[in-house]
Symmetry: C2
Subunit: 383 residues, 2 copies
């Protein structure tokens, strides 16, 4: 499954003992080639973790041979010692694989502000390297979980090549921010610049429009590795479309497993003057705690949608706003539409459509409701 579906990749998991639960906490993904082209996007949080600083530099030449990931500690806000620990992890991985440390991407996830126990982590990396196999994708996907309840994997196959991906992320999930880690592999042959362009576009309309709790992580990383092992040389447009599909699949899995969620909500803004306006409006609604608690309570409280829309600078006239919830036009021209009693919010999937009547652009933000379980998970456990 996932990252070992494309030819040319091996993966593995190991248990280093970083988590109190004793579950696997180290994952390793290796690109055996023939090419080692790579691209990545990272959190835009200015307080970035040590592995983000390391990996941004490591991948800047368009090459990465391996990605080593740990759960059980974010290695963020850990100063010079934290960076040295990331460096040591890359060196250890490189020595085990016979590659250069500068071609090793490092990812970490877990509690901010604690040093990683290197006496446990490095033996864990050694165990993972010893376990590498061409069907290790599923094990790797399990080892990067923190508060995730299920591993997230996605695959595209067709046209003689394939794409595989794994992801983790359940809280602090508004990329650009939620300790979201994603590794995507492909055996299609593309140059680093093409990979980077495809990845930017795919993440822009998928992970970047996933907003569970409005909180941006210090560690978010999406890495894309190309082995070229299929021998298929692709145009960037075809590849971007397939990659976007895989990213959208993973992004939806993240929202569905978001901390405490009981509803998956698509907030779509249509007829906006610009795509930016549409995204801004959808995100403002998706970040409203009052909207999110109302959905948790199966309450089609469209006033909370309009009050969020009203805080944006998008082009619209207040008396021309339309809102529908699960297909019922509850607000017409800024006023009362059909009875809110007609809206059934009993199902897990909820669709809110906001019509700005100001243009032709649209965008969707995927979010979830704000529940007792979210408060419980994030108050009872440090993460």
């Amino acid at each position: 499954m996932s990252v070992t579906v494309p030819k040319g990749f091996r993966a593995a998991a190991a248990t280093a003992g970083l988590k109190d639960s004793g579950k696997p906490d180290v994952a390793l993904v290796v690109n055996d080639g023939p090419q080692q082209a790579a691209a990545a996007v990272f959190t835009s949080n200015r307080v970035a973790a040590a592995p983000v600083h390391w990996s941004r530099q490591a991948i800047s030449d368009g090459r990465a041979d391996a990605v080593v990931l740990n759960s059980g500690g974010a290695n963020a806000c850990t100063g010079a010692e934290g960076f040295q620990n990331t460096h040591a992890t890359a060196e250890k991985t490189a020595a085990l694989l016979g590659i250069s440390a500068g071609d090793v991407v490092v990812c970490s996830t877990g509690l901010i502000g604690e040093q990683l126990p290197m006496d446990k982590l490095l033996p864990g990396v050694e165990a993972a390297a010893a376990a590498l196999s061409d069907d290790g994708g599923a094990a790797a996907a399990g080892a990067i979980m923190t508060t995730d309840t299920v591993p997230k994997q996605a695959v595209f196959a067709g046209g003689g090549y394939s794409i595989g991906g794994m992801a983790k992320g359940a809280g602090m999930l508004a990329p650009g921010l939620a300790t979201m880690l994603v590794v995507i592999t492909t055996d299609a042959e593309l140059a680093p610049a093409a990979l980077q362009a495809a990845l930017r576009e795919a993440t822009r309309v998928t992970f970047d429009r996933t907003d569970s709790d409005g909180c941006m992580s210090t560690n978010d990383t999406v890495v894309l590795l190309s082995s070229g092992a299929s021998g298929v040389v692709l145009g960037i447009e075809d590849f971007t479309a397939a990659l976007t599909g895989v990213c959208a699949d993973l992004a939806r899995q993240l929202i569905t497993d978001a901390e405490g969620a009981s509803h998956d909500i698509a907030v779509t803004t249509i007829n906006a003057a610009s795509e930016r306006d549409a995204e801004t409006v959808s995100r403002a609604v998706a970040r409203s705690n009052l909207f999110k608690t109302a959905i948790f309570g199966n309450d089609p409280n469209w006033g909370r949608v309009l009050s969020a829309v009203g805080t944006t600078d998008a082009v619209f006239e207040p008396d021309q706003l339309n809102v529908s919830m699960n297909g019922v036009p509850v607000c017409r021209n800024g006023g009362v539409g059909e009875s809110r009693d007609l809206v059934d919010l009993g199902s897990r999937d909820v669709t809110v459509v906001i019509d700005l009547q100001a243009g032709r652009e649209s965008a969707t933000i995927w979010t979830n409701d704000l529940t007792h379980e979210y408060v419980h998970e994030n108050s009872a456990y440090s993460s």
Copy 2:
């Protein structure tokens, strides 16, 4: 108490039957002069309620003789009919008091997207007018409550004059947005322009820095009325200082009674390059659901503070950030400081200080934690 402490004011409450609870839901405050100078600030939400549209116009000439307020319905997103209902409420009030409808400020609070039952409201206004008295301030403060559990009142007295204020607001509380209504009276003699300048400055550093849940209301209104009945003519600086004290008092009462709150949190940013930077950083932290749930759980999770700071555009270097929680410097120079175990979050008041080491400005945002009770109140009841 409150708005009837200054000379020249009468107030009253009545029960019109707008609330299912059967509690008082109409309040009336009248300025008997000798002068009727007035100023106001309103929500910056572009989806503004009908009474906000009406009152913005009514007060634009610097005069207001009366304020009529109702709880039990926001009269927001109610179209032309909603505006006509506000107009009719002002006309009714004016006829009862023998004044001009254009000198009546109207405020409403409650559920968005429902028409007010005018057959109940207008008799309620009549009953309030009949009950007007010079000690009716406390009754009026009670009648504007919605999910508030206690009325909010504050008084300043000294220098031969006084200021009295009442406020309501418990959710959708990030002015600029939370159905926060405030009426402040004074018997000091000031011109409308001076009142407006003093009110802008006082609200800028008090209500505007109160951010309970990041959600801006369609109905927020702060009205300041001056009767001049004390005969005291004041300089604007002295008056602004006294007014700011009354506003700060009311703002703290709003936070303490915010929906479901179990901690009152002051997020102070110091040594910022500008006051705007300090406010931006404090607000980013105050709006982080992960920070707020951690405080609910008595968890001094300073990584969630830094991850919020990192999303802002304020001037700072990540490796120079200091954070203390209730006096314990848990983060020094962007890394690990004193043990988080030293922080005691058992008391209701919590202080978080973020030192940007980038300048000399500071600002505080007052907020509260995110609790099960917040989720419960806002999922179980439409408001």
